[in-house]
Symmetry: C2
Subunit: 696 residues, 2 copies
Amino acid sequence: MVKKNQSRIALYALTFLLFVFLSISVSAAPDEGMWTFDNPPTKQLQEKYGFTPTQEWLDHVRLASVRFNDGGSGSFISRNGLVLTNHHVAMGQLQKMSTADKNYVATGFYAATQAEEAKCPDLELNVLYAMENVTTRVLSVVKKGMNEEAALKAREAEIAKIEQEFKDKTGLTCEVVSLYRGGEYWAYQYKRYTDVRLVMAPERQIAFWGGDDDNFTYPRYDLDMAFFRVYENDKPVEVEHYLKINAKGATDGELVFVSGHPGGTNRLNTYDQLVFQRDVQYPMLLNMINKRLEILRDYAKQGPEQERRALGQIFGLENGKKAQSGEYQGLLDPKLMKKAKQDEDAFRQKINANSEWKKEYAGAWDVISKVTAEQSKIARERFYQRMATNSRFYNIARQIVFYVAEIKKPDIERLDGYHESQLEQLRFYLFSPAPIYKDMDEATMKGMMQLALNELGPNDPYLKIVLGGRTPAEVTKEMQAGTKLDDVNLRKSLIEGGEAAVAQSTDPFIVLARKLEPLQRKQIEDDKKNFQSVATPASEKIAQARFAVYGKNSYPDATFTLRLSYGAVKGYPMNGTKAPYKTTLYGLYDRSLGFDQQGAYALPQRFWDRKDQLDLTTPVNFVSTHDIIGGNSGSPVINKNAELVGLIFDGNIESLVGRFVYDDTANRAVSVHSAFIIEGLRKLYDAGKLAEELGY
Amino acid sequence: MVKKNQSRIALYALTFLLFVFLSISVSAAPDEGMWTFDNPPTKQLQEKYGFTPTQEWLDHVRLASVRFNDGGSGSFISRNGLVLTNHHVAMGQLQKMSTADKNYVATGFYAATQAEEAKCPDLELNVLYAMENVTTRVLSVVKKGMNEEAALKAREAEIAKIEQEFKDKTGLTCEVVSLYRGGEYWAYQYKRYTDVRLVMAPERQIAFWGGDDDNFTYPRYDLDMAFFRVYENDKPVEVEHYLKINAKGATDGELVFVSGHPGGTNRLNTYDQLVFQRDVQYPMLLNMINKRLEILRDYAKQGPEQERRALGQIFGLENGKKAQSGEYQGLLDPKLMKKAKQDEDAFRQKINANSEWKKEYAGAWDVISKVTAEQSKIARERFYQRMATNSRFYNIARQIVFYVAEIKKPDIERLDGYHESQLEQLRFYLFSPAPIYKDMDEATMKGMMQLALNELGPNDPYLKIVLGGRTPAEVTKEMQAGTKLDDVNLRKSLIEGGEAAVAQSTDPFIVLARKLEPLQRKQIEDDKKNFQSVATPASEKIAQARFAVYGKNSYPDATFTLRLSYGAVKGYPMNGTKAPYKTTLYGLYDRSLGFDQQGAYALPQRFWDRKDQLDLTTPVNFVSTHDIIGGNSGSPVINKNAELVGLIFDGNIESLVGRFVYDDTANRAVSVHSAFIIEGLRKLYDAGKLAEELGY
């Protein structure tokens, strides 16, 4: 599954530890690249496929593409604001909307009328309405002679200013995105939708058919889809740009496109950064995931309701584990590392061969190398300190504590995340009515605190504050018993009451967040000073060096912003033979029977009851050469006429190394075929009205 | 496909170059081993599966098992001499029985009445009627003080004597087999059947469905079966021991057995021998296969009849290429080689730790090492010299020339293959009425002669004789134009006319065989003196050392003699997920449609026409943990009641390394499910009468 990793902790750890150096990737291999819409790969498309998308085509596709802010992609598929994404992207909302008695994850959901469409507690969708290159403006504030810290500060302030200006001018939410690691800065302006309602989702049994075993593999047989509708003023929005479904799908070898939001790649990390990831980061991350999985599986064993509650997190962790294990295997492959070294050496030789370039750029690698070495020293400590307060309640408390302090400052001096233009989104998250299960939060908090204690020992300054001489079990039990943060009104009153209210709060999570605040602020300061302010200009240099040597026909590393990938529907060599370009309903029954219909290979009863009505030749899933990664889940696959022919939901096991390198031999994106979507709606889910809305 | 490699040249090269050191394998890993019927793995079976086969069970299974002398296995499945094997084992005969107008390979064959059953031109089946341990007798002839050459001669003479004695006594064909590399010698006594008639074979399209791509892989969907009937005195033989088919098949995890004839393994080659294979033998073998394939594919392109003629050989070569590439990859895997070295070191340390063992055995490895080094020096020369006369006509001519010379000697002095007890078989092969296509023989002969010339240069003594100063094209053209050896009567008259007739023959192949005879005899002499006579006692020592250290609970390397393997029906981890234990008819249609029914994934029209009559839940193929290898093709898979539940036809890609090491993680044997055999006969091939004979 290629959903952007949902574990906030994992994401936090990743960005924190790595500074995710976004670097330019040189396009060379066929069908490679996650291209920004301002710079589509027209040359490659024309040369290889004889097709050049018009500006109109690009605008249409962009405006029909939707970002799911909790970690995925989607698209408008009807004039009336209907949005298609993956079931596993919808999972978070489905979990939050379900209860012990009304389990949409297990039973599926279908609103036969608009009145029945169910509002999601905290789903935000974004559409990229406009983009503007603000590179000159951002870079111009860094004046000659400024020291590194001052330069970083000036840049951050200017970015905050730009974001606010755009918001004031257009009413759109603006995010300044650093592409090519500061090679370019763009103001991305989004239309935000926060009234999103669930329309249809099949049972998870068929959406995630084959379970964790089949995840990230192919041949595959999943109906991984879900439908939402976007509302404004309590009415469905009417959208001009939406993708028409073409239920014929795409033929073998056909050129198709993927428009979506790849979460992150590290294609051109320096060699030293790759070594750091391999030797420090991945082992730690996998250790944490394994521990969390153990805790949640134990929790889930307590009963069916616990199992239901933990399902989403367990899925996220299993998904992350499989993805990151695949990435880690890539880094452990001496061939990959050797190639990375050779590529970097060749690049640096070219720089050194030109005296001007040499003077300007050659030193940057050593700077990155030094920063990475410094990061290595504190990486473990920082990572496991975060694990010590691994709780939904704590996250909320920490954000409240920082919120009330930050908003008192002038906007340009605030920490990122607390700028005026960002507060609406933050409050939307903080005031979510989604349930937090105390017993589950207690289980994970306690277990992860214990992990931190085991790893860092009791004398760690962060842990000392957290534990105060007691055991993780004692601390956790008391805090969970004492907190009232599950009450959204309490959160609101704290935010509204400001610093005074927060200072007076006796809620144990607020108390702890207050105690930790000084240490955390110190760490943020230290990191800016020691790492970010040094690494940012060095990475910029490397990016500029790439522009100088390889020109501009390239794409930036993924940043969970909108990208266009191109490629062909195409099978691949697998396990001694060939994987077919598509699978059919016949294969679904075959694989189910091949495992005696056990476990994740059991089929929903309706698949047996209605088998004879189904056209078993209907394509189920297909593969294509597209360069995608986690975050692309739910992306539409579209043909040259911008018709939707498929729905991205996974990458094969060979694609996982794609975080570092793209190789089209066996790297494949896996999609739900449009024909299966329609066949499913009509013949399995009695959702004819929905099929009609899609033109079928 | 696990058929024993049919390429006589490849086999010849293998045995010639390697002396296939048959050594003991220590049973450790689960379900490992190709066990002789005198020494079944009763301990392992009892411990792991709680089952101990009775002597009656063993005798019954042995007497129902059939060896196909052209390279496969099979079993009696009805009282009336009906034999089941793989279609690809039957391929050779089907090719020989087909013509441009009557292509059984393409159309399939079914004899609705016994009168229609079609006699095979040169198919010989063997049943292992009796076994007797003759170790003492063979070893006793080697007297103290004999030099190595004399010892080898004495041993060979005694073996020839034993074979003749058993034949005289029982009328059965006797082969003295060296097991555990001379650790034991057994007189295997076979009932020979040479009147074998074809009863039924489906189209190759479904028998070899998925073609070379799917060969040696799984999940799989092949109906790789063929039926023959054994006749004596123009009547079907009545057999007491045959396997009843159980069309329910076996369940997931069920204990089942495979009784068949694995061709050859090299499980306990010394490390030096593995290095020799890796660095010398496999590159050479694969080079030859690629060249031959190129030649035959070019030939096949000339037209449909040429394509038909070349099909069998192309299949054999592609099959061999895929198998040997997999084996070669195993040797190129540093882990495998490291393990082989460690195992050998540990073994030798145990020997060295015991002063008696050390004195007796420790020197043997150095002897093998030295012989292998010597072999390496001449390996290329010998290998490509054989390639220079790569022709069916030449093979016949050479055997005729040697035949008339050898039979004049006392039996015990003859070369192996020309002993009195072996002549009947040799004549059966020499006088086969099977067609030899001159244009195809010319194409391969010319191409391989050119390969030999390229590799060895024109001054090679063998090539000098072959070419006589002319080009391969000239030589080949003239010889093929001049020969009359396609006339079986000419062959008979030469054999009957003896040395005088052969000496007077002007047939160009006989002339060439006469010219090459002195050089070949010299080479055979040299090899016996330099290699065999030295290596044989050294290998015996290592075998005895293994008995001493590890005891007797072990199985010998495969020798194309009857073996029993045990194991469970079981899926395995594959490409990031799990392979199911079985496939069904649903999957066949899925995979066909997944490739748009193109090429080897097209289905015979009857599969579409009769789809609605078929029960698509019928299992098609299944996998099990059995330790098998080429030669096992056509082996019955039987349950504890000795009922046939499947038909071995392949190993998966992970099993290819099994030539050197067995690892049950992913090593799987692939079988046709008994249910598909019956469903196919009844509903697809209108062979109800045959199904009835099988009890269905």
